[in-house]
Amino acid sequence: MHEYPITEQIIKIASEKAKENNARSITRITLVVGEQSGFIGESIQMYFDIISKDTLCEGAVLEMENIKAKWYCPDCNIHYARQPFSFACPDCGNDGMPTNIGKEFYVKDIEIETE
């Protein structure tokens, strides 16, 4: 359910860009999906196959670049993947801070076919 309106939005973004470039069809859409974006790739793919019918996106390959979430330790100046139930920096043990790495969710590029 959660991914349905988001998938519609992906098709809209890709189709508008394709029309601007006089595309006959879209053959590939690349999405960048952060681990903490809250969206599940398989779910987007399922809705995409249904909603893209009769649009420029029909038959396009949906590629996903997944990005692991990272925290930042200002004391050690490092980024790290946090362990479950902990926010601690693996080097100094102090709690670091969240970053935007892993929250990405955007259409990176599309591949189109023109006449």
């Binding site: 470039n21 999405l31 809250g38 969710f105 599309i110 591949e111």
Partner: protein, 216 residues
Amino acid sequence: MAEKEIQVVQNIFDENDRIAFATQEKLGEMGVFVVNIMGAPGAGKTSSIINLIQQLSENKVYVIEGDIESDIDTVKLKELGIEAIQINTNGACHLDAPTIQSSLDGLSFDKPGLLFIENIGNLVCPAEFQIGEHIKMLICSAAEGSDKPYKYPLAFEKADVILLTKCDLKTYVDFNDEFFLKGVRALNKTAPVFEVNAKTGQGFEDVAEWLLQRKG
């Protein structure tokens, strides 16, 4: 026939965020301060809204009640004389900006004041969508356990203010204050945490005072 790669780099939330910003701006100009209430089912969102409205009695308050189905909370609010409307998402797990924008006509906005939007009871997706709010208020009950920041980090990270409800239950549920606050602070350095009890009204005076200061 030729194949061509086109750079797009467009955030999928852009359209939602654009509508959210328009709502926030429109209501802000009317002197209406919008609070997005997030929290798990049963955390005490509606009870907290009612307690806050009692404390904010000199201010006009509007409520949008988001629910998957039923209008139980809206009926309760209306019985108390509160101007409230219901949105049923019929299964969707969060409110989004277009839904809120299209529901605004249901409220009078005849005076400046505050609009509380009770989001769907869920600690995951409501944190991902802007709906037109000025601030996000996270309601978290002691009964849910002190590990919530570790399990639902984004909700705590995005909150502007956190209410810990049902604080009278702390001793019965072995609530670990230190563990809870450590998690909250790792995720969010600035949001104040207010301990409240909706049954007795304890703590809501301070929250209301904070809200009015923030509203400005």
